[in-house]
Amino acid sequence: MAGVNLSQLTKRYTIGEHTFAALDGVDLSIADGSCTTIVGRSGCGKTTLLRLMGGLEEATSGRIDFTSSAGPQASRSRRIGIVFQEPRLMPWLTVAQNIAFARLDDPDRDLTRTMVNRSLQMLGLEKFRDAYPAQISGGMAQRVALGRTLCYDPDLILMDEPFGALDYFTRKKLQNEMIDLFLSQGKTFLLVTHDVEEAVYLGQRVIVLEAGRLIREFPVDLPYRRKRTAPAFLAIQEAIFALILEAEQPFS
């Protein structure tokens, strides 16, 4: 498992003569084995935050420190898995091979096989193990992407609006599957979304990001699986809505 501490994390982009901050001095601490959601409107910097943490982009300034309950030695060898908004499966590999993708060169083939089988079973994909991505539905493809990340066995799983491109029913189903995975795997989950209801449904803590700044966080002390119509659930949801609307300002 791994947690992460962000201090004064800043990312600036320059387009032509203009420089703008996608992230502006973000301080955030994510505990080991927690499930945190980051919510905000498009362009608030949530994807940038995830990409910086995943090592896909370099921060302009600030620090990202990974922590581990197993001590500093373990935190150095941490693994980070990313689930993108689109499944991004390799079209030339079957479902099983895609799940094994990060481990295809692992000499321990038995371990890879075991982990692939476990992921296939966990995500209900056994029947489709030999199918190619073009032959499965969008929801199934996103499940495969999740399986690929799980098979990589990361300490920290970063998810960038993973259910955003799916239909309503598949989205709800996968949200529940994600909760089951979180509860059974004990890994650290960090999910970004623009869907406030999804953020409250999934996160133990909801962080609100606006114009590159962390404006507030909401603890969600409700047991999983949450009832979306429960007064406490709706109250948190309303508070986040109000905060985002109130904080609305022209993107700079």
Binding site: L56, R88, M90, P91, W92, F101, D105, A134
Partner: protein, 258 residues
Amino acid sequence: MQTYLQRLKGLYIPLLLLIAWFAGTGLGLWNPYIIPPPAKVLATGKQLIMSGVLFKHAAVSLYRVFAGFGIAFMLALPLGILIGMNRRLVRFTEPTLEFIRHIPPLATIPMLILWFGIDETSKLTIIVLATFFPIYLNTVNGIIHCDPKLLEVGRAFGFSSRKQFWRIILPAILPYILIGMRLGLGYSWRSLIGAELIAAAAGIGYMILDAEQLSRPDIIVVGILTIGILGSVIDYGFFRLTRYFTPWGESEEKHGWG
């Protein structure tokens, strides 16, 4: 069943042409010297097959096609990968390659004969020139169009550049390479016949040229049909090979045989 019926549709036009050929000859609509009768072409074909002449010429042509294609492939693929992976090199190579690309290989025949004589080297060079560009350009194109989102997946899993190449780039560009190879094979076949028509002592092209000098249009037609049939058979073989190597079906829609 439906697919077989669909495929049969491709035979309608050849069948119509064959009927017209038979009917026109039977009705005496044209001079048999200009368009030889089907029966005569059939008899000549049979005789050329039985005597082994057709096989000899076809074997020589096929050898040239595959040898030239092989050399072109060995040159074009590594160069395509090198340039595609190091785009800064494009500035150095692009003007020269663009210049050569626009020269029809057949236009270089007089110079090639001057440099290499009329033996195999000049003909192989023509095939290499004709085949190189489709393979090279498709390889470079494949790398340029390799989905950056897939490459990012590799980066997210901490792949080294070497692993990125073998695990993502190469499989992703395989359909492009195969299409380039298939196009190249067609070009090499066409340019070879051209080369053989000008300077050769054997090969289907030579057989056609020789028949022209002997005033034997029936042999010319046998030669033309052989070229068409061999070209189609090779293309179909390549299509099957493509399907085998890209079972995920991405390249299928780009082929005519499916």
